[in-house]
Subunit: 526 residues, 2 copies
């Protein structure tokens, strides 16, 4: 098995020479209906990945299968979950899938069985959460904690926050919302101040999340929180836990009630199913709900092993995305969940995808001569329809669309207006949008003309539950992984974030010159 | 004055032939510092627009000035605010600037002085808000209302919501937060359910916003709210006001406590300074704060008249954006406010820009042969740095960046860690990012190499206040307007949203065939 640049593969030349599929034509009439029947792949959590409205046909799919085979995508995945050093730049294993299941061989690293390590941390987080919920761990007045606040940034914020918001209302209706959760991330002091103003500090547990224990934003926000706890006449160490690596200064530190561990083999943007998400989500929803998220993800991780792209939704989604990016020339992807619960899921995917594959050198550090990761953005539907969809329908950019929809809403309440429920309206809208984008509409008034030919896929589930949420999370992680494999990237480092950090430190040390000095003056720092 | 396609202008050919500026070179050393000193334009609200890190030089600026002159941009603006039918497709005037000031001649339409009409509605909203705050308008138990909930979607949601969030914490600290505000927008029934679960209905006023009075999402959510009011044993008409056009079924309807008016000359995405934003913001912050937003916007609107691009920040911003889009080939713009208060401002700009200029036909309905509006996305810094900045620094797309920063934070609280405050860290980061993007960094390890040459601008203000917020809002409205003028578009209609609505109605009426039927089945509607 070799790691080759994408444009050195035979499949690249083959795909490059293929005539594009006319989506407008193939999606019309009964042939379109047949495509919807046939062009779908089961996912975990009872969901289905439908790609009928993508610009592919059986010939393109065969060529994408040939690409998957030639690039040995599923073998590379097996290498990853069996513990190879896939993160070459940082010389690290990539083990986030192990937080939800044992996909292959036992992985022993640093003298430890890594699956056992991650499970042990889940168990510890579960026991801690159970004690908090049972009133065995209480505040200084002997009262129960009611709120949990995560302090973290990037992967310690976006993923866990998106997951919390995805299930908050579901849990409220189901009676499984054990504690409210809030999140502090930005170094802007107003972020911490606003969250602190909205909570009752005396009944709050703070979860400080930093793998290295040195993230400047997070330590700064910790100080904010500690000041607030002290101002309330309380002892910070009775209100805080740490989620960190075993070698960090936060580990086993008496400043915290307890500490829970991840390691260097869990990248930040892939860390939601580790203790980074596990502690806050177990506190908010209880350990059983968190375990259900893990089960959904594990089931999806298993599906991702399949070498047949028609049975492997994440690999197929990845390959269609590569086809659109490198051969159809599309530079953006919109993620459009028709589910209010997923309101911040696009922001998580934005990090996951753009931080993983927004790179210009291959895994050996050599410049690549093809496009890699695209810009990811999105808002929940139907809100987006009344906002940026104008450009998606009639703009000069063609933006591939990733819809997500559920047959049922999360909360029990609905209302019938004009003979349909809100949920039916929501689903009718996403069905309508797919067809409007694919087939467009002729019109005498050119202002009302829709060219169509705008590709989309949709993931459809019964309801947004812990299982389907876990499956969604893993689907996109595995999609990004497979695209990284095709592009021959290291999807697991993020060297592009370093330079800004270095220069910011220089500004704070007043060690600047030229334009950096001038900007510092403009911003009132000097 | 003529309306010509962009590529028919002499300035187009001139710009097309110009050698690109090497940003890395011009921003280095003392020349870079000099650029930061010189390449800036004062804005309203005490702000400044700095474009030193854009890929322009004096030659490009001269060519952009020639473009502005040849396209008669400021004359087109004058036509607009003097009441010409600028929205040609819908045959409407475009008068949102009149909600904040009288920029030119009196505009009489439908027999009414339009400035007087908008002011009268502001006065009515102010009087209503004052009565609510004073306890003269109370709930059925004679108690004060404490919360205001806006029900609206698209422009009736994104702009007002972004403005509310921008000042919520500022107002909390200043003691001007009169009422909490919340927003219901999505037709997903869980949106309304979740907001209703978070408020005390008995002490809440609902502001129903729909220009036509027929927006399906909004009427559906109104039913949700009415059900909740009735379930609380209360009378809906005592808890709701309407913001609508005078000819809508909601106008003067006894189902509402009162109704406030906008008209067809205020497009949804431009409506924040009309009654659409005025009622909810006056309730939340008091009429004086809303008036200050209007003043900031009015001052910025005046600046936008200047024919000299070096004295007209929105025109200059627009022209640089056009240069990047059409001659440098960049397809996206990231909006990156280093201010937690502006967390949803990018979502508002996403609608404003993409719905206005995401079009492929000119204002006469003829296809254009150049790129128009780009994809807009963004999250507040420093959060984005730990997320998608990887792609911005090292990805294969070059994405122009629009930074926004303030010298001071909104809330009083800050903390010193490692010899600097959080606010200093925030500002140091944005200064550092501008330079990292512009100049990059050489490195032996190609993984740590930053190519640089990635252009950005920054708007810097003292603090995010009502005045600076109003100025920001107007700046971007006027920027979008000027880009529409250059591209010869009608930036004030949105025909691209219609087809999806039509097809959704067909689904709900079960009047479908082919793939639309199949998708409806997949989504469980049929």
């Amino acid at each position: 098995m070799e790691w080759k640049n994408f444009d050195q593969l035979e499949a690249y030349a083959k795909l490059d020479g293929m005539a594009p599929v006319d989506l407008k034509t193939v999606m019309a009439g009964e042939n379109g209906a047949k495509r919807v029947e046939e062009y779908k792949v089961p996912m975990a959590g009872g969901m289905v990945y439908s790609f009928a409205a993508k610009s592919v046909d059986d010939d393109v799919l065969d060529a994408l299968q040939a690409l998957a085979d030639e690039a040995a995508l599923n073998e590379k995945y097996a290498q990853l979950y069996n513990g190879a050093v896939i993160n070459t730049g940082e010389k690290r294993l990539v083990l986030h899938q192990l937080t939800r299941g044992q996909l292959g061989e036992e992985v022993i690293a640093d003298g430890v069985n890594k699956r056992e390590f991650y499970v042990s941390q889940q168990t510890r987080a579960a026991e801690f959460a159970n004690k908090v919920h049972a009133g065995e761990i209480v505040n200084e007045a002997g009262e129960k904690f009611t709120t949990a606040v995560q302090i973290g940034i990037g992967g310690s914020d976006l993923g866990p926050r998106a997951l919390y918001l995805s299930l908050e209302n579901w849990a409220r209706v189901n009676g499984t919302l054990k504690m409210d959760a809030k999140f502090i991330s930005n170094v802007d002091p107003d972020d911490a101040s606003a969250v602190l103003a909205s909570i009752d500090v005396a009944h709050t547990i703070f979860v400080l999340v930093s793998k290295s224990g040195t993230t400047l934003e997070t330590l700064t926000n910790e100080s904010f929180v500690k000041n607030a706890i002290v101002a309330a006449g309380l002892e910070p160490s009775k209100h805080m836990v740490a989620v960190t690596s075993e070698t960090s200064p936060l580990a086993g530190n008496p400043d915290y009630l307890d500490s829970f561990y991840m390691d260097d083999y869990i990248g930040g943007r892939y860390s939601s199913t580790s203790a980074v998400g596990g502690v806050i989500l177990s506190l908010a929803f209880g350990p059983d709900v968190f375990a259900r998220i893990l089960n959904g993800a594990a089931e999806e991780d298993e599906l991702a092993k399949n070498a047949d792209i028609r049975k492997n939704p994440s690999m197929l989604d990845a390959l269609i995305g590569v086809y659109e990016r490198n051969f159809l020339g599309y530079g953006e992807t919109a993620v459009l969940p028709y589910s209010q619960g997923l309101s911040r899921f696009p922001a998580h995917l934005q990090q996951l995808d753009m931080e993983s594959n927004g790179k210009s050198v291959n895994r050996f550090g050599e410049p690549v001569s093809y496009e890699t990761g695209s810009v990811i953005f999105g808002e929940p539907g139907t809100n987006g329809q009344h906002s940026f969809y104008q450009l998606l329908h009639q703009g000069t950019n063609i933006v591939p669309l990733q819809f997500i929809g559920f047959k049922k809403n999360q909360m029990e309440n609905d209302v019938v207006i004009q003979d349909s429920t809100s949920q039916q309206k929501l689903c009718a809208n996403v069905a309508a949008q797919i067809m409007a984008f694919a087939c467009g509409k002729e019109a005498e008034d050119p202002n009302k003309y829709f060219a169509g030919g705008r590709p989309s896929s949709i993931i459809v589930g019964e309801r947004l539950t812990p299982e389907s949420l876990g499956a969604l999370l893993a689907h996109f992680e595995n999609k990004v992984m497979y695209q990284g494999f095709v592009w021959n990237l290291n999807s697991f480092d993020q060297e592009g974030v370093q330079l800004g950090k270095v220069l910011a430190k220089k500004v704070l040390a007043k060690d600047t010159e030229g334009a950096l000095t001038a900007y510092s003056q403009l911003l009132g720092i000097f």
